[in-house]
């Protein structure tokens, strides 16, 4: 295994959970809902995926359970923000804390147990090609899913009627409502999708990235995903670029350290954040386009007149 190959594999592993969670949140925010609870949904997805994988012996079943758990744990948020029209910021923060606490509770008995690792794909012939094999054809299913979902979301949002509807709800919910579109139903579906994706991101952490359960293992990745969405100006492909840039700079920093150049590690730890923000701000420097992409209704509760 040569250096570049190992490097790319590490970057992909670091970027995948961010990409999954951020893509989900992007859809939520495009529908005009701000869900700050990504970290909590991710943690819940991680612990449920781990537990189910361990007990059933099937990591794939674990992944499915993790995705489902992400959707279940977001239900109180749906109720609060869509039925009661409560503050999305407060409800989202509550979800983040609730999810972390709940995951700790569920996971209590699973601490210190090695998990089941999600199998990496092996396509006879293709996976054996040097370099290209492991880098392109040698990942687990979640890595491919993260790319597929990004592409799917990009296509759905900008090329289909469903996407147009979703964006309409996020741009002006009153107008969408006046035209007879079910604003709250669309938003609920978007939030559930966000929960599903965050659950998958969590599952990636606990059955692929580091197959174990420890409390707080998400370690702030949910918050990074949230920031990525904003700095990518709600564009799926920019989220992809942002997640991979973040991963690349982080892993480069580790390599630089291991080579003994004596760079301050505090700076290297901050660098991925700085680099990603700067790059995405430069990409998004066209103010008019950025404004056009910003969901105008974000964070604003919607109550249909009765």
């Amino acid at each position: 295994m040569n250096g570049l190959e190992a490097f790319l594999l590490t970057v992909i592993a670091a970027a995948t959970p961010l990409l999954l969670a951020a893509t989900g949140e992007l859809v939520v925010e495009r529908a005009g809902v701000l869900n700050l609870g990504v970290e909590g949904m991710m943690a819940t997805g991680a612990v449920v995926a781990f537990a189910v994988a361990l007990m059933s012996g099937s990591p794939l079943l674990g992944v499915l359970a993790g995705a489902l758990a992400g959707m279940v744990v977001v239900l109180p948020f749906v109720f609060l923000t869509q039925v009661l029209a409560a503050s999305q910021v407060a409800s989202g923060l509550a979800l983040a804390l609730f999810g972390l606490g709940l995951s700790g509770l569920i996971g209590e008995g699973f601490v210190g147990q090695p998990g089941v690792r999600l199998e990496k794909l092996h396509i006879p012939g293709l996976s054996d090609i040097p370099f290209i094999g492991p880098v392109i054809f040698g990942h687990d299913v979640l890595v491919y899913l993260s790319f597929f979902m990004t592409a799917l979301v990009a296509w759905l949002l900008f090329r289909t009627r469903v996407g147009l509807l979703l964006r309409a709800v996020g741009t002006n919910h009153d107008a969408a409502h006046a035209l007879g579109h079910p604003v709250r139903r669309i938003r609920t579906l978007a939030i559930l999708f966000g929960g599903l994706m965050a659950g998958l991101a969590g599952a990636y952490l606990s059955v692929s990235y580091t197959p174990q359960w420890v409390e707080d293992m998400t370690a702030g990745r949910g918050w990074i995903a949230l920031a990525l969405v904003v700095f990518a100006t709600w564009r799926p492909l920019r989220v992809l670029a942002g997640a991979y840039l973040f991963g690349t700079v982080w892993i480069l920093g580790l390599h630089a350290q291991a080579s003994g150049y004596g760079l301050p590690p505090q700076l290297l730890s901050a660098l991925p954040y700085l680099a990603t923000i700067i790059a995405l701000v430069i990409i998004a420097r066209n103010r008019t386009l950025t404004l056009a992409n910003t969901p105008a209704m974000i964070g604003r509760p919607f109550m249909p007149e009765r």
Binding site: G3, A6, V111, L268
Partner: protein
């Protein structure tokens, strides 16, 4: 009469609960029970640092039974929150309080001043008072042993070291590991990666992958999760466990682990308070006192195992001190003269690398 009294006691309990000051309604408890409180920096589910301290708490309960009652607050950030948590424990009748992270130091001193009748125990700190003791473990003794094992077991003569923060405790560990490795392989190399976190499985795993990609064929860590062990197992290199025995995460990978065992000390200190013998002191226990333990030596040839056991015995008996001169630092300056050993004070403030470490120490 009895009913009325019970009612009043219950009411008192409810009142205490309602003010949020108590973890359990102290008024309904028997008077003579010693309440012991703990604050942890991480979740007890970290299977590392905080987990080991909580094992110590459980040991107190087990050893002293109904003479004590323990409670804990986990995930207490260092800083103002720590002061609040300590205050809460002190005011709710806890007479012995363990603060288990370095950064709680100033909060402990402050709260201790306000509660002269409460005994405080602060881990890894250096500020004491009449009612504040400090304690820590000489992890470096264990790290010297694993360094020697690494020196024997690494084919490439290069270890990867996943470090947390550049504080003396961690630097001391790196140096001790290196001195151990050099004692069997003078050309031994270490690659150090600082992940700037005590606890982030993902980052630790990334660091492990990077170190292996750069040629390290043995891993050690001063961070708390078992993620590097899993990476090592996947890539087929050896590794050492940290804080607790991680053999489950790498049955064919772990050579040994440096384990923190706070239980004997915690039980002793609780006993001291019960018997009125508690006094402020500084304890720095190592292999000899059992505060540091080695996990079984596994996955290595018999002769390496024997060497490790002999080294462990020599350190325990005091015959061997890992920091015995001559020791040169990176710049070639003689830091410890032949035949001398570093004093505890110098060890506690260590901010230089021994000769042979390529990394530059972050300031």
């Amino acid at each position: 009469m009895t009913t009325r009294r019970t009612f009043m006691l219950a009411a008192a309990g409810v009142a205490v609960l309602a003010t949020g000051l108590a973890l359990t309604p102290g008024a309904v408890q028997a008077e003579e029970k010693l309440k012991v409180g703990f604050i942890y920096v991480g979740p007890i589910g970290d299977h590392g640092w905080s987990y080991q301290h909580d094992q110590g708490r459980l040991a107190i309960e087990k050893a002293l039974g109904d003479k004590v009652q323990t409670s804990y607050i986990e995930k207490v950030p260092e800083g103002a929150d720590a002061e609040r948590a300590l205050e809460r424990l002190a005011r709710s009748g806890h007479k012995l309080i363990f603060a288990t992270s370095f950064g709680y130091m100033d909060s402990v001193i402050k709260v201790a001043k306000r509660h002269p009748d409460v005994k405080f125990e602060h881990a890894t700190g250096y500020k004491r008072a009449n009612n504040v003791s400090t304690y820590s473990a000489r992890f470096y003794e264990g790290r010297y042993i694993i360094g020697k094992i690494a020196g024997k077991m690494s084919k490439k003569g290069m270890a990867g070291y996943i470090a947390s923060f550049p504080i003396p405790e961690v630097v001391r560990g790196i140096n001790s590991f290196m001195l151990g490795a050099q004692s069997v392989n003078p050309d031994f190399k270490i690659k150090v990666v600082w992940v700037n976190s005590w606890y982030d499985p993902g980052k630790e795993a990334d660091a492990a992958k990077v170190l292996i990609a750069q040629g390290a064929d043995i891993l050690t860590q001063h961070t708390d999760s078992a993620a590097p062990m899993q990476v090592a197992a996947e890539k087929g290199v050896y590794a050492f466990g940290q804080a607790s025995d991680m053999i489950k995460f790498g049955p064919k990978t772990q050579l040994t682990a440096v384990i923190d065992d706070w239980a004997p000390y915690y039980v002793q200190r609780a006993k001291d308070v019960l018997e009125g013998k508690w006094e402020s002191k500084d304890t720095w226990g190592g292999l000899a006192s059992g505060m540091v333990k080695m996990a079984p030596y596994t996955n290595m040839p018999e002769e390496v195992k024997k060497m490790a056991q002999e080294t462990e015995a020599a350190i325990r008996s005091g015959k061997l001190h890992p920091f015995t001169g001559p020791i040169y630092d990176q710049d070639g300056k003689l830091r410890v003269k032949e035949g001398e050993t570093l004093s505890d004070k110098e060890l506690l403030g260590m901010n230089w690398y021994v000769k042979g470490i390529d990394d530059k120490l972050p300031k």
